[in-house]
């Protein structure tokens, strides 16, 4: 695997929408490189013709009937938002 750089971490932080400080960028570059180094062990496993496991339930299409039911009231849905206005959650542009 390519070595993890500070640029990689900066890019990842942008994708993850977290504004990291310089010292955090340094710290996470080191720490993530260490963990990625460890998980590299997976590359030695022969997985030719092995299917992926996405979930372990063997269930498919767990859907309910398409009928109208009660859901969350608007009041409840907005109850944890800091700023609301006329049924909307407000943020500054």
């Amino acid at each position: 695997m390519a070595k993890l750089t500070k640029e990689d971490i900066k890019h990842t932080a942008e994708l993850a929408k977290i504004k990291l400080s310089e010292s955090e960028i340094e710290k996470y570059t080191k720490e993530l490189a260490s963990v990625l180094g460890y998980v590299d062990i997976l590359s030695e496993v022969d997985t030719k013709d092995v299917e992926e496991t996405a979930q372990v339930t063997n269930l498919e299409n767990s859907l309910r009937e398409d009928e109208v039911r009660d859901s969350l009231s608007r009041e409840d849905a907005l109850s944890n938002a800091k700023d609301t206005d006329d049924g909307f959650i407000v943020t500054q542009r």
Binding site: H11, V39, T53, L59, Q92
Partner: protein
Amino acid sequence: MKISKVEELSIKKIHEALLKSETTSVELTKYHLERVEKFQKVSNAFTTITKEFALKQAGEADKRIKSGKSTLLTGIPFSVKDVFSTTGIRTTAGSKILDNYTPVYTSTVIQKLFDAGAVMIAKNNCDPFAFGASNENSGYGPVKNPWDESRVPGGSSGGSAAAVAARVGYFSIGSDTGGSIRQPAGFTGISGLKVTYGRNSRYGLLAMGSSLDTPGILAKSAEDTSIIEAFMAGHDENDGTSSGSLPEDYYKNIEKTNIKNLKIGVAKEYFIEGLDPQVEKATKDAIQKFKELGAEIVEISLPYTKYALAVYYVIVPSEISSNMARYDSLRFGQAKGEKYMERVVESREEFLEPEVKRRIMLGTYALSAGYYDAYYKKAMKVRTLVRKDFEKAFEKVDLIIAPTSPTLPFKLGEKTGDPLQMYLADVFTVPANIAGIPGLSFPVGFAKPKDGKHELPIGVQLLGKQFDEEKIISAVHAYQKVTDWHKQMPKLEL
């Protein structure tokens, strides 16, 4: 409180005491609320103490008991790991970003326990969003192991484990995604049940790794876990991964399994070089005890065990990075900053704990363009191989026995400087989550560490096939009938 040492009673016995009016739920709840306050000072095991809520529930429970309509759990105080949503009661997930969050719905498994009449006395401190193996990552401070305050109780359900070990409340509901019930149960000398993935609904459990998260139970014995699980289990329309299979009454069937007919597998891959010799000895003693009870011990091999932790630390951070995207400060949670995108990135920076950021970053990287195949897709394939290991093993044996943790409970601060060292603590517990199989950790002995003065608990786990909790519970129950490790308690003045 007329009943002496009432906190030591089993659920069955406390239920009988309530039915016979030897105590009332209100009296019992007040008693345990006092214990919560005192224990909080030495352990930091709780994030929110739900005094008024509990007393109201207790009053209703007493009415129900008088009317003859009570269940085994009616009137019994318990605590809930703070990753479970509770309507009208602050739910922090152990993270500062939800310090001001009040859910408008209740987690299905918790609601079922409320419906059965159980009384919630507190929300437990835990690693944030269940990310951790020591309860040191919490935004609310670490939890201390009641057996030795300089040590960790394990994690992420550290607060739950500490409370049960200290006999504060009669059980706690936790979650196990990589060992977060079993490992702290092992570190605190109690019984921790992780059921089959899908057996207990995840609705209302703040999501961590959605394909592994499993609500479960921490209690004083396998018997107690069987009573509680009977109420929690079952299909839930609100959880698309919830199993349709009907739950068993594990408690009614607890004496059904004959140990003499059981084959218990011992996998050599668990007896590796990082395993503490005292943990190894206690595990071997437990195996010997099962042999004496009549079980047949069979050597098996789980060759992909050594890759399981790597599979876990690719898949889980990946799922985490997706699940954590909802904490954007807009609809709920703490906020910092004004303009929209500034607010999102600053709030996440300000209020998410370091371990939370770490795992989000790991997962985002592993799923990003150019890396998805090498990391995530590869891990999903090796996950299949880990599952197949267990499927093959369960053709030969009914249960698998293994140490829960490679070490004794470690000291606070010992592993916090090196995230990878902390991750290695999960090495024996993650395989069960990867495969979606059940496991129960139970105490099998004590040992004094080289760097400590106090005897510390050692836990061993029994793993079983999917939906075969009954065999696991029955086997541990049989062990607990002839041993008394599970009756040991830390010395506390509460």
